[in-house]
């Protein structure tokens, strides 16, 4: 069993390495995620963010602008999830005085 899992792991690793050779280069303007149109012909959202992030929020870090500005509501949800985890730990674990 151990040998089988090792062989499966090695095969899967080789598959991942092979797949990574097909990825576009870092910052490649012709990469799939940087295209303005998807293969189906619809506009791709990423092109809009890349083009407008700096002008919209005066911040060169596109990731921050997407996280906190374009999708700020989503980040609010993430913060509430973290806070809820803390509150639940408080309610379950803290001894009553």
């Amino acid at each position: 069993m151990r040998k089988i899992s090792l062989v499966a792991l090695a095969l899967f690793g080789a598959l991942l390495l092979y797949a990574s050779s097909g990825l576009p280069g870092h910052g490649d303007p012709d990469g799939a995620s940087h295209r303005q149109q998807s293969p189906a012909g619809s506009p791709v959202a990423a092109a809009h963010y890349i083009r407008h992030a700096q002008g919209d929020a005066a911040s060169p870090n596109i990731v921050t602008v997407v996280l906190a500005d374009y999708r700020g509501f989503d980040t609010l949800g993430e913060t509430i999830v973290v806070l809820t985890a803390g509150l639940v730990c408080y309610l379950i674990l803290r001894r009553s005085p």
Binding site: A58, N61, A68, L76, T79, G86, Y90
Partner: protein
Amino acid sequence: MTSSSRNPILITASRLLAPFIQLFALYVIFHGHFGPGGGFQGGAMLAASILMLRLSVGAERSELKFRKSWGTPVGALGAMIFAGTGLLTLLLGGRFLEYHFLPLPDLSRAELHSAGILLIEVGVSLAVMAVLVTIYDDIMEGPGGN
């Protein structure tokens, strides 16, 4: 941890390191516009510095930096800063989290968005730091703890 098992090297090293970790965490939070970083990462680093003190100098003395009873209120305050920023823009005529309605003078539309991002990053970092510390404190105080 009992006082007899305290190691002076650990105590000195962690007390020396903690302010620098907190300084770098503040850098990560406030430099999130220009490089890798932001509220979640900076908050985790702030929590790491406090947890390091909790582990090395003990709960009583590290409470001088961050009290056990502060965890839940500070976490709620962070989430309220975030939601309050959104509600403020809502009250001033914009949509939720539409930062260019923030009441800050002499800033262009893009700079207002930058300031709004900074506000919510501070809220996120406060919430993450307080929650991480409070989870540790709850586990140590809890039914199976000391």
